[in-house]
């Protein structure tokens, strides 16, 4: 009896010890699960970021349609820049508002004046830092004056968890009237003095619109090969990247 008791106690303690070893093992497993959750969380957030950047770009288009300039300017970070066509660069949130309000007209839609700036083919990218990103997008313009086709190569910044424009750059491809379309009455690019207000900085690039050729560089490499964009060939008609 005396011999039995210590042995049985030892055996029971051993069982209890095993249970706590199992507990320690599961603690390691919990840590692994936590890590997996963290990396999954980052991937999910990137997917959300792509959608949120696209929403900012698409909302910009809906605001242009109806001259909602305060709402539009609020899509921009305080230190953001804007450059559209050949008009030059506007610095900061307030100048974005001024460009729209002075340059394009008073707040709100005006009967008979259609200025739909439809946002097509949005290709968003979120950088590895998770707080900067880009978009390549098309504005297909249906207006009272006719048609327009522009690109955007825009930069975004995530401030306090909210995506905003850091830089909007909208090079023109083609503008034309309605009657015969792009057959021959195409409209040339804008320039700094074309309409008020004057820009803060001259255009970053000088180029001509259709029937001339200009390509705005892509912010992304080829999605399959990973190769950067080769410059256009002047012999093929590609007059480089502008100035």
């Amino acid at each position: 009896m005396l011999n039995f008791m210590p042995r049985s106690i030892v055996a029971l303690v051993w069982v209890a010890l095993c249970a706590s070893v199992a507990h320690a093992q599961s603690a390691n497993e919990l840590q692994a699960v936590q890590q997996e959750l963290n990396s999954l969380g980052t991937r999910i957030e990137r997917l959300q970021d792509l959608n949120e950047i696209q929403i900012v770009q698409h909302t910009y288009g809906y605001f242009v349609d109806k001259a909602q300039w305060h709402g539009l300017a609020d899509l921009f970070a305080q230190d953001a820049t804007l450059e559209i066509g050949g008009k030059g660069v506007f610095l900061g949130h307030d100048r974005v508002f001024e460009y729209m309000h002075k340059g394009l007209g008073p707040l709100g839609p005006r009967d008979g004046l259609l200025i739909d700036h439809q946002q097509f083919q949005c290709l968003p990218t979120v950088n590895d830092d998770g707080v900067t990103g880009s978009v390549r997008c098309i504005a297909f313009v249906m207006s009272s004056g006719g048609w327009g086709h522009n690109y955007y190569e825009d930069r975004f910044v995530k401030e306090n968890g909210v995506w905003k424009f850091k830089k909007l750059h909208g090079p023109f491809n083609m503008y034309c009237g309605y009657k015969i379309g792009w057959l021959d009455n195409t409209v040339v690019n804008t320039y700094p003095e074309k309409f008020p207000p004057p820009p803060d900085l001259p255009p970053t690039v000088i180029y001509l619109t259709f029937p001339n050729y200009y390509i705005e560089p892509f912010h992304y490499p080829n999605p399959v090969t990973g190769n950067p964009m080769p410059p256009p060939s002047p012999r093929a008609g590609g007059e480089a990247f502008g100035r």
Binding site: N51, G237, G238
Partner: protein, 467 residues
Amino acid sequence: MSFSPRAVRLALGLSLGLAVCGMGCAKDEAARLTALKARLKAMTEETATVEAITKVQRLGRAFGYYTDKGYFGEAADLFTDDGTFQWGVDGVYKGKARIRELLTRHGGGSIKDGPGLPFGRLNLRMQLQPVVTVSAGGNSAHARWREWGLLGEYKKSATWGDAVIEDDYVKEGGVWKISARHYYLNFEAPYQGGWASLKPVTTGDWQSAVAKEFPPDAPAPQQYAPFPTVFVPPYHYANGPLKAIQSRAPFTPPRRPDDALGKLEAQADAKELQLARTHSVRALENLQAMYGYYIDKGQWQQAAALFAHDGTYEFGQSGVYVGSAHVQRALSLMGPQGLEQGQLNNYVMVQPIINVSADNRTAKARWRSDVQLSRDGKGRWGGGIYENEYVNDKGTWKFSKLHYYVTFWGDYDQGWVAKPFPMDPPNTKVPPDRPPTVVYQSFPKLQVVPFDYVHPVTHQPLMTEQE
């Protein structure tokens, strides 16, 4: 050494209790851990699916940006080495080199001189309205796209292009590529006269000039006639459950225990919901795009099937139709099921702003539609805004409310400024269940369609700005 019987009983009892509890709790915890790991595995797979959809969208859009500017080699590089490109009824071209030459010849570039386009050449091919379906294994996918082309040569020609693309994709070494593209050209119409001026052609008798000089490697698997004949390019999502419009069924997680594992379970619940909502965004893009493709071809029954049984439909000033049966009757006012020869009914679905509710049960979205119509030999342009609502029906997204606000209708030949049309009043033969919810006039009148979402940056409600 000796133990009192009482001490022995106490020690025995304590040890037993500890051991039994230890084993019991461990067993319970092990089961919970196994369940959590299984959930994480499923979430990882679902994340990969949503990533795949975004990558396929990226491929399609990158293709468009390349062809626009004569980067045909870069466009061909988006294909697998043995990738194929079927161009309308012309036939099938195989391999990157042949695809590059095909695109170069159609776009007016130069193989020898490299990327670019000659002065005066316009080759804008906008890639719109994707419906992306990722296969169960996660290594292949399909997509339907719409191509809207602005084509031509300065002072020589100006042409509208309209095509539907059905693509196959594969993931090779972790990289998504196009493995087969089926490009179903619907029309290339001269700007002067537009699509309504096109005359019927005989099936198989409309090979392009490019195909005559640059014969394909294999014949097209299918012959068809372009507009004004109504041809429905085959849908990759015709059969089986509509995976493209599914995400996760609404799910209320149980209260998790207040222990280390419970904290992880709660984290997983939150991430699962976040993932479900981002997956829902893609499913809703697919749903609206799918609706557009059905409307294009007068497939009212298929379109109405995308509505919840109590879903509503409101178009312009035509009133509200309630329930999928009435929705189908309302859609049928546009023409017979399948349309008649000469009827064009293109509703291009673009510019989504999708907001999924915090619990993933409902969603709202703003969309834009451009409309290209033809009736009785007359062409028409249209434009407008959707403010729609959707419901997550056991994991499948459906329309609970579709509301199209007409911005303008315009005559093709004279344009919307010279010849705008008013909206149709409610139909008297198939009257709506309710009058219009908002009374307004279309162009030349203009108004802001109320935004059903807050400002994406300031998060303030959007009030109309007007001076």
